[in-house]
Structure formats: structure tokens, C-alpha cells
């Protein structure tokens, strides 16, 4: 696998934003520290993923589920993350259920509306280009 190390890093801008929001106004973050945090985060992803896939294997599953991630975090002593993540997990699952609309008519209308929106914006873009 010819993946460069950079590809396994998270986008710098996202990391920077999270750190900035986390730290008090008076504190800045140095370039070295930011890239260290970014790399730490990538290692964290791998670490949690690896643990989560062990959790999935324990339950004789090949698919990595959200619950495996939560169990992994508990195993890795990140219990402080668990409560908010459980809330997020729940609301994520709820929003997914809402997305799958049982009434087929509504679902297709939504799709049509979305397509119309895309077409409208595409037309606007064309008009703008023509104006230039």
C-alpha cells in the first residue's frame, strides 16, 4: 500500500479549529504542538479502531458497529467521553431512522425536491458565468 504518511493525518484546519475552541483566549498553539496533536489524533483513531474491531470479533461479527466503538473507549479508559458520545450515538441513530421515511411518496418527493434544488443552483451558476 503506497500511502504517504500525510494521507493518514487529519486535515490541519479541522484540528486547528478544535484546539482554538478548546483553549482559553490567552493561549496560543505552536506549529509543532499542533502537528503533534494532529498525529496523536491519528494514532488515537487507529488505536480505537483496533480495539473496536476486537470488540466486534468478541461478538462474532465482521462489521464494526457504533457500540463496538463505545465499548472500545471504555476499555481504553476514556470513560469521560462515553456519556456525551452515547447521547450523540442515540441522536445519530434517531436522525437516520427519520431519514428512512416509511411513506414512499414523501421520500420520492423529497428526492425530487433535492434534485430540483441542485438543478436550480446549476442554472444560477450558468447564468452567472454567462453574465461574465
Amino acid at each position: 500500500m503506497a500511502e504517504k504518511l500525510e494521507d493518514l493525518n487529519l486535515p490541519n484546519a479541522s484540528v486547528q479549529k478544535i484546539i482554538k475552541d478548546a483553549l482559553p483566549e490567552s493561549v496560543n498553539i505552536g506549529k509543532d504542538a499542533r502537528s503533534a496533536l494532529s498525529r496523536a489524533a491519528s494514532v488515537f483513531v487507529l488505536y480505537v479502531t483496533s480495539q473496536a474491531s476486537k470488540e466486534a470479533q468478541k461478538s462474532h461479527r465482521k462489521t464494526l458497529m457504533g457500540q463496538d466503538v463505545l465499548n472500545a473507549l471504555e476499555e481504553l479508559e476514556f470513560e469521560e467521553f462515553l456519556e456525551p458520545l452515547q447521547e450523540l450515538h442515540k441522536s445519530f441513530q434517531d436522525s437516520k431512522k427519520q431519514g428512512k421515511n416509511p411513506k414512499k411518496k414523501n421520500a420520492s418527493t423529497d428526492d425530487v425536491e433535492m434534485v430540483e434544488e441542485i438543478e436550480d443552483s446549476a442554472e444560477e451558476n450558468l447564468e452567472e458565468e454567462a453574465a461574465d
Binding site: 490567552s26 493561549v27 496560543n28 498553539i29 505552536g30 504542538a33 488515537f44 465482521k62 445519530f92
Partner: protein, 77 residues
């Protein structure tokens, strides 16, 4: 979020990953960055500086026991 998915897929033991697993790992990673950043900043503030340096991050890793998986990980180039 797609970068996180890429990293997750690079794990050889990992085959199929559900959407909510990727979502949770993404959120957990955000929380982790915030957590590690704040821990590092504690050292910065304690030493009366205003810029968090790499050594503050290292110090946070040493101090928080369950961050031991990061030891040596930050010495990559």
C-alpha cells in the same frame, strides 16, 4: 470525516465499518484533541507561557496514564 474513515480502513483487521462507527470515532477524536490540547495547555499556563509547545503535549502524555499509547508515537517525521 472521510479522512477518519481512510485511517480506519488502513487497519488490516478492519473489514466492514458501519456509518455510526465512523461517526463515533470522529466525534471521539474531536473530544480527544480537545482533551489533549487542554491538558497540554495546563502545563503551558503553569510555566507562565502563552504558547503551547510540543513539549507541553509530551508532558500531558506522561501525566495522563491512559495516554501511554502515545508514548514514542510523536517522534515520527
Amino acid at each position: 470525516m472521510s479522512r477518519i474513515k481512510t485511517i480506519m480502513r488502513s487497519d488490516p483487521d478492519c473489514n466492514i465499518i458501519s456509518q455510526d462507527a465512523v461517526y463515533l470515532v470522529t466525534k471521539a477524536t474531536e473530544m480527544f484533541i480537545e482533551f489533549l490540547g487542554k491538558e497540554a495547555a495546563k502545563t503551558t499556563i503553569n510555566t507562565k507561557r502563552k504558547t503551547v509547545m510540543k513539549r507541553d503535549v509530551d508532558s500531558a502524555i506522561d501525566q495522563v496514564s491512559h495516554l501511554c499509547f502515545l508514548e514514542g508515537a510523536l517522534e515520527w517525521q
